[in-house]
């Protein structure tokens, strides 16, 4: 391979890296466009649904006036007047009060249809939320928001569906539903980055070869860094698009209002396009004019309130769940919120700017991530590493081929969650905002020495260690003892015994746990019945630490010894009998033979089983959680169950993640050390 | 059927070269045995021919095709493994027919070939058995059946007899020789047992440390070992080797070592060069008891009577020696014995290079 050729080949890396960075920005821009489009559509759907609800209120208020039939007129006009609206309806009780399909007006819901039933259930739930919000606001007049969602947005086939409650002075009068078309992808190609990347690559291929290696790498690094910065700075933000979405939604609704003859009476008509053409100030002026109008209280809630906001992704605002929503910290009064699938959406005027800044920063972070990847590729490539890796991949393609399906699965479903979990350990959550918190969680966990507190880490560690050691000790000694008993060829029924003794292993362990919990019941449990029969006094098993701990221990011992028994049986059977014969000839007695032959020869099988068993027991969640449930007072919880409680009961996910990272490190250390000492898994690594 | 040609073939594992620049021409139908101590590269060479190891450098031809990059499947070779490698989950019939089935041969043809092979190897009764239920010799036969049935261009044997007891080994050895005579297929056979090598081979390739030491017909190797390694490896018991110095005594070139001194025979004189540090080699069977004018006197510390002869083990001034004596010898353990060499049968090697005088370093088969 001549120097020239290798030089040429080396030149490939910068173009590759530059194109990866550009591709990264392309992906970011695209995903941003998708998110933008979704947000846009969600807002518009919410706005329109509110508008429909509001019109319905109007009609309810003027039932006796000439305005009757307004709702239907409005609803019918929507699909035509508002781009993207496919269907609109107002439900009152079980009847369609209005429907974009005029044939359905005043028809009953078809209760046998699943879709209609879902609509009915959702409407009922939102209605209940209206009442709950009214209660909450009555109880706490200072509350600046509705804690229960009154608007719901869920994705449906090809679009979004918004459901809004029509209320008149806090009183429910119906539900409006709008179905819109697919969210538009508002994708802007990051031209600048692409052009710079291509230009840079071309230039590099032409000129790069003239530079000696070291300066070339330096220039390459600088060029890529510049590309990254340029990309981050020029990434199209979505703030403007949000404004557009807001204007669109508002204009569309206003147009429909106009069409329905509602607006004419109170405000000058607005052509949607004209409205969209207005700049912000003009729109605000116009809004102010409408504000003067008698309809404003509704418009305020229905339109303006919904127009500015932010999307915060949280675990899940449970569908079908009336879970109270807390607004993010710093959200000013007057915010409105609703739940959408997978998201809670909070609206508020003032919070908007802050939210957009955060989002833009996030996007830049992505860009920088791609920049780092690009730089790594350049460096690895220039230094020949990548080529070596590539060659290894080709040389060993058989092996990698066999391994890759499992590895892909493991990476996506095990490693990424693990890494994500570890990262979460460095965060804290206030309300639904996740913030970087450095080592705070770890410091809090590790520097608290109040051992009297049952949730103290060191107390938990002690309990866990005791739990693990006692369990593994009992499993191994019982298992080994039984294996030796059963390994007697003269024992006729040993097959039957073996089958019966592994029954506990076969039964799902959560069932076992619940059964034993029942057996330890103070009044009805079989254990107390037995104690009484023996003349003892029945015990409240879960009232104090030691009895509660023993219930866990007994259950887990019942559950765990068969595994060790089987492992020991297997190992015993593989010990050649001539060894015993030799020992017999040498005059060893039974104990000596066990001690000097059986035990040492069992070790290769037993040690890995003990290590695995210890790890399993250390993390044995089901038994603790289901049998003692931590009683009394969380004292019998082990680390893993406590971590679970921190995450899901005390709602401190970051803290829990730090907790489990510590658990992980303990187990890792344990395994590495035992490995070093015993070489237990050495065979497995050969 | 085909010839096998190795041209400058080498094999490296990382920095470790296990086979170095092997040149070897195996004629069509020839039976070649690779022999050498363990770790000498003979098995690796065989496995390269089989396609189980990549060839690091050089060219391997089977027939007229260069097969370096072909999979074993395409090389048209069959192999018998030391462990037999019978598929434990298949019957003998399935074991033998596996390769044919993989090649999608028509069923009746397979059946015919399997039964033929079974017939030849006396396996007909055992076709439905699984390998577990068979003796070592029977398994060995199945392994051979599996190779024969394919009617390959080349047979490869990797120490096929080393797991058998002595008696069976002799029997199977004869069977392999018969099979080769009958089928006439080019065969490469690896063993560390020189008796197998001598009895089976048309030609023997002696290897050590990855290098071919000598290639030749069995008797050629016995009579004219190319270097001290071959001299010591071929022949049983091994050739006695003594360090000697070349001197001219009274105009006659003489080699002198500890406790011995003999004139260089006429036939070796033309090969004498500047080198004075030599090794003298003499096979035990070319030593005889001499009352008068022995070349050397050995002290005997062990006698191995074999019936037809007695092997006397001892030393000549600290240098170990073995001599093959007449069965009725009067020599006793602990006693001295005067020994004469058959001077027509002695060998002289260059002590520095190990080469027999007059020999160049080996560069592959002619």
């Amino acid at each position: 391979m001549s120097g020239q050729a290798s030089g040429r080949r080396g030149l490939v890396w910068l173009p590759v890296a530059a194109l990866i960075i550009a591709g990264g920005f392309l992906a970011v821009a695209w995903s941003q466009g998708v998110a933008d489009g979704e947000a846009y559509q969600a807002r518009r759907a919410a706005t329109i649904a509110r508008g429909v609800a509001w019109v319905h209120v109007q009609e309810a208020m003027r039932v006796d006036d000439a305005g009757e039939g307004q709702t239907q007129r409005f609803v019918e006009a929507l699909p035509e007047k508002v781009p993207g609206v496919r269907e609109a309806l107002v439900l009152k009780g079980v009847n369609y009060k209005a429907h974009s399909d005029a044939a359905l007006v005043e028809q009953r819901l078809d209760v046998d249809s699943l879709a209609a039933k879902a609509l009915y259930d959702d409407a009922r739930r939102l209605k209940a939320n209206v009442d709950k919000n009214a209660e909450e606001r009555a109880r706490n007049p200072a509350l600046g928001y509705d804690p229960y969602p009154e608007v719901q947005i869920i994705p449906v086939e090809g679009g979004l569906q918004a459901l809004a409650v029509a209320e008149d002075a806090g009183k429910y009068i119906g539900t409006a539903r709008i179905t819109t078309g697919p969210a538009p992808y508002r994708f802007e190609l990051p031209w600048l980055v692409l052009l710079v990347a291509l230009g840079l690559s071309a230039l590099w291929l032409i000129v790069g070869g003239r530079l000696p290696t070291r300066p070339r790498i330096a220039v390459g690094v600088l060029a890529l860094a510049g590309l990254t910065v340029a990309g981050s700075v020029t990434l199209p933000g979505w703030r403007n698009d949000l404004r557009r979405a807001q204007a669109d939604g508002q204009a569309g609704t206003l147009a429909a209002l106009d069409e329905a003859g509602l607006l004419a009476a109170q405000a000058p008509p607005w052509d949607p396009e004209e409205w969209a053409d207005l700049d912000e100030d003009e729109q605000q002026e116009e809004t102010a004019r409408i504000e003067a109008n008698a309809l404003m209280p509704y418009l305020d809630r229905g339109l303006n309130g919904a127009l500015e906001g932010r999307l915060v992704t949280i675990a899940r605002a449970n569908e079908g769940d009336d879970t109270r929503l807390e607004p993010p910290a710093g959200l000013p009064a007057g915010a409105l919120m609703f739940a959408a699938e997978g998201r809670a959406v909070y609206f508020s005027g003032a919070a908007f700017d802050a939210a957009v800044v955060t989002d833009e920063a996030d996007v830049r972070l992505w860009g920088i991530g791609f920049g780092v990847i690009g730089l790594l590729i350049l460096l690895l490539g220039e230094l020949g590493q990548l080529r070596r890796m590539g060659r290894a991949a080709v040389d060993h393609r058989g092996a990698y081929g066999y391994l890759s399906p499992a590895i892909v699965g493991m990476v996506v479903l095990v490693f990424i969650p693990v890494v994500y979990g570890i990262v979460l350990g460095f965060t804290q959550r206030t309300y639904n905002i996740i913030e970087f918190a450095g080592l705070t969680n770890y410091i809090e966990i590790l520097t608290d020495f109040d051992l009297g507190d049952p949730t103290n880490f060191y107390f938990k560690l002690g309990v866990t260690l005791m739990w693990t050691i006692l369990n593994v000790g009992l499993h191994v000694s019982i298992g080994l003892f039984l294996a030796v008993l059963l390994n007697d060829q003269m024992l006729k029924a040993r097959g039957i015994y073996r089958v019966i003794l592994i029954v506990p292993w076969a039964i799902p362990n959560y069932i076992t746990a619940l059964i034993w919990k029942g057996m330890f019941n103070k009044q009805f449990g079989a254990v107390n019945a037995f104690i009484e029969m023996m003349g003892g006094e029945s015990l409240s098993w879960f009232q104090s630490f030691w009895p509660a701990f023993s219930t866990n221990l007994i259950t887990n011992t019942w559950l765990g010894f068969p595994f060790m028994m089987v492992v020991c049986l297997g190992a015993l059977q593989s010990i050649p009998s001539d060894l015993y014969e030799a020992a017999w000839v040498d005059g060893a007695d039974r104990w000596q033979r066990f001690r000097r032959i059986t035990l040492p020869l069992l070790m290769p099988a037993l040690v890995p089983a003990v290590i695995v068993g210890a790890v399993w027991t250390f993390n044995m969640f089901n038994i603790i959680y289901l049998v003692s449930g931590g009683a009394p007072n969380g004292a019998t919880d082990i680390l893993i169950t406590d971590a679970y409680r921190w995450a899901f009961e005390r709602d401190r996910y970051g803290y829990a993640a730090a907790y489990s990272t510590i658990i992980f490190l303990i187990l890792l250390g344990f395994t590495l050390i035992t490995n070093r000492i015993t070489g237990a898994t050495k065979g497995a690594f050969e | 059927m085909a010839s096998v040609t190795l041209t400058d073939v080498s094999k490296r594992f990382g920095d470790n070269t296990v086979v170095k620049n092997v040149f070897l021409d195996i004629a069509d139908g020839e039976f070649v045995v690779l022999v050498g101590p363990s770790g000498c590269g003979k098995s690796t060479t065989l496995r390269m021919i089989a396609g189980l190891e990549d060839i690091t450098e050089g060219e391997l031809k089977i027939g007229e095709r260069v097969v370096n990059d072909m999979t074993p499947r395409d090389r048209d070779v069959a192999m018998v493994f030391q462990s037999y490698a019978l598929y434990p989950h298949m019957t003998v019939y399935d074991n033998i027919s596996f390769g044919l089935r993989l090649r999608k041969m028509p069923k009746p043809e397979i059946d015919k070939r399997v039964r033929d092979a079974a017939q030849k190897l006396g396996l007909t009764e055992l076709l439905d058995r699984k390998p577990k239920a068979m003796s070592g010799g029977q398994r060995q036969r199945v392994a051979m059946g599996r190779a024969i049935v394919r009617q390959p261009a080349v047979f490869l044997f990797d120490e096929p007899l080393s797991n058998l007891d002595a008696k069976l080994r002799v029997q199977m050895r004869a069977e392999i020789a018969r099979m080769h005579r009958r089928e006439g297929v080019t065969t490469v056979y690896v063993t560390h047992d020189q008796i197998e090598a001598m009895t089976l081979a048309d030609r023997i390739v002696v290897m050590n440390f990855g290098v071919v030491q000598q290639v030749g017909a069995p008797l050629e190797l016995y009579r004219e070992p190319a270097n001290t390694f071959v001299a010591g490896f071929i022949g049983s018991p091994s050739m006695n080797l003594f360090d000697v110095d070349l001197r001219a005594t009274g105009g006659e070139p003489t080699v002198t070592g500890k406790g011995l001194s003999v004139p260089v025979p006429e036939r070796l004189r033309p090969h004498l060069g500047d080198q004075t540090k030599l090794v003298l080699g003499v096979r035990p069977e070319h030593l005889s008891e001499a009352v008068d004018g022995p070349h050397m006197t050995a002290r005997v510390d062990m006698l191995e009577p074999l019936g037809a002869e007695v092997h006397a083990l001892g030393d000549v001034e600290g240098q170990p020696i073995v001599a093959s004596l007449e069965p009725d010898t009067a020599v006793r353990v602990g006693g001295p014995v005067g020994l004469r060499m058959d001077l027509d049968q002695i060998h002289l090697f260059d002590r520095e290079t190990g080469l027999a005088l007059g020999r160049q370093a080996h560069r592959g088969a002619a």
């Binding site: 959560y510 969640f621 893993i640 996910y653 497995a684 | -």
Partner: protein, 283 residues
Amino acid sequence: MSGHTSSTQQSTAGERLLKNLFLVALCVMVLYPVVWVFKMAFTPSQGFSMSLNPIPENPSLANFEYLLTELPFFTWLFNSVVISLATTLVGVFLACTSAYALSRFRFPGRTTAMLSFLVTQMFPGVLMMIPLYLIMDWLGLLDHLLGLILVYSTTAIPFCVWMLKGYFDTIPIDLEEAAMMDGASTATIFWKVILPLSLPAVAVTALFSFMTAWNEFILAAVFMNRADNYTLPVGLQRLVGQFSTDWGYFAAGAILVSIPVVALFFALQKNLVGGLTAGGVKG
């Protein structure tokens, strides 16, 4: 030493009597909770009124009837069967191929791969729930049977790989080379030589994959929102949650849930010894 082989002890009749007594007592202890569940299941009352007597006083099938008729039991059963079988197939397949690669090939990253398989066993699974949930959401697999199948398969993989690799290691490489000489491709070698020879270990692997999927309820409860996507354990757990004192239903459900897995377990238990210990004990 007498003719019979491998017995650690040469037991006398008296010893055997003692042993038998001890083992019988132990079996009673082991079986008692199981019998107890049967009693609850066949006792119509939902209470917990237990005495030591394990025989139901007036047996009835009312609990089972309720489960099978009032609850979407068969839907749950169907889900569980589909998920468990698919998990077994996918998990065993992936574990076989990876274990084979790890056992037979030497390649860069091999030790890392094996270490990471081992290490994942140590991360507390409960805490992976939220990240997993987000990933499932991202993949659009929430409330899909496929989502659970993938998650279960991957969680089962490390243990299965560990076990299978140990077993594959005991299969001589000669066999593969012989097959190669016979003209088999890598895939043929794998399917026709390695797999048939590893059946005991594969059976155990399959059993564990199946049990993982059949018994798991935490992830299933989180990922499955619609009642017609519940698996049996989730349905059963909801039963306990919903009517916290309905022990009769629970017991009946527990029996129905346990029967298939226990049956499978016993069908394959002969392989447990060989399959589990092959890696640890060479020879």
